[in-house]
Amino acid sequence: MNKKGFLQISFQWLFAIIVGAIILFLAIYAVSKFSSTNEATSGTKINAQLSALLNPLESSFETSKITPLNLGTETRIYPLCDSDGGFGIQSIKTSQKSFNKWSTPGIGSNVKNRYLFLENPVQGKNFYVFSKPFEFPFKITDLMYIISENDNYCFKNAPSNIKEEIIQLKPKSIFIEDCPDNSIKVCFNMGVCDINVNTNSNYVQKNNTIMYFEEDSLMYATIFSPKQYYECQLNRLISREKILIDIYIEKADIISNQKCYSSIKNELIELKNLLNNFRDSDDLSSIYSKIISINNKNKNSKCRLW
């Protein structure tokens, strides 16, 4: 009898302990899952909000402007680029520091109509965003550059137009004189620095890589972003340009019905053929002469397409 009673109680306890342990395990699992999902959700929210915030920085005029971006807490912004399919995709992921630990970056906010140039990752509490129109020969889009307040850039021997632009922009992280000691040195046509810009042959040497550019907007892009990312964004820009060429060719046909005859339709077709063979920034110089010639013809035309 005693043995039976002992068994009876122990079975009840055993049953309660096993089920209790299962409940506890499920509760702990649910709480940890919930908190990690919450972290990812908040990261995704910041990504989407940041992406929407960068919307109004596009402008119609050829002036660059600088906008401070205050994210409140120490944040890492990770840029992602995919040049496949139509316009390709720009994505940004953010990770924020809380209790000395970086949060999960969350799901990236994918956008097709944005072209951001930044280091991977760029880190800080406050960021400076400025944009410049990219015209090749017509406006393709506004390129946006994101720099952190933690990264100081020292522009040495910069050409006068760049100097003037920086004086006008007054970015707190870019210096042309009295550079802080820890700044990233960007040298124009001189010496060996962290970033070397050659404005005669239009290339930038950085981290043992060479990136080619045409126009100042692409030069800034090479300075503020890594090579692989820059090349990807450049391919996205060329893809958009090809689609815009189709629109301008179609526009030339539409306005010819209104007695407005454009003389550059055939040249636009030639430019599109050149762009079809575009691989990387190394090909920019071979296209640029055609770009200049088309732009001059359009400027001097009575019936301008752009």
């Binding site: 039976k4 009673g5 009876q8 079975f11 009840q12 049953f15 309660a16 089920v19 409940i23 499920l26 509760a27 649910a30 919930f34 919450n38 959700t41 929210k45 989407a48 909000q49 929407a52 919307n55 109004p56 596009e58 402008s59 119609s60 005029f61 139509g86 316009f87 956008v111 097709k112 109509n113 017509f138 406006k139 393709i140 889009t141 689609i243 815009l244 189709d246 629109i247 301008y248 179609e250 526009k251 046909d253 539409i254 306005i255 019905n257 209104q258 007695k259 407005c260 400027k299 019936c303 301008r304 397409l305 752009w306």
Partner: protein
Amino acid sequence: MVNKKAQMKIQQMSFMLIGVMLFFGLVALFLVSFKSSELKQTVGDILEENALLLVSKLAESPEFSCGGSFDSYAGSCIDLDKVMALKNSISKYNGFWGVSNIEIRRIYPSSLEVLCDLSNYPDCNRIQLLSQENTGTGVSNFVALCRKQAIGNNFENKCEVGKLIITYEQP
């Protein structure tokens, strides 16, 4: 008797445990639905914010802007000839602006509503891009609508007053 008592106790405990599990399950379900509705609200807010910002800058994007083709540079100016050309390539722009529809309406001089296509352009006053219907929430902005117009054997730049309407779907 002893066996029956023990069985009763195990049954009681099982019911109790099932009850506890159900309670926690319901609490979890409530939390998940609360979180998902909160998330939907955030998505809606972001979409609205995106549409409001987009409507103010879309006229400046290269697919719409007048640029330098109408003698002087002007803000909020839409090149209607370019938009008609864009209408032909619009399938490539699916998901590009993250909105469900873009509509351009001429509001002055006013006339009967005629939807534009290549056969009746420019004798029309409404261009629908992306979709043929306006479903969802719309935000609008006043813009200048410019185009080339033939006069005899020559042409002139003609600008009218219009509205740019952007529609986005609420989640």
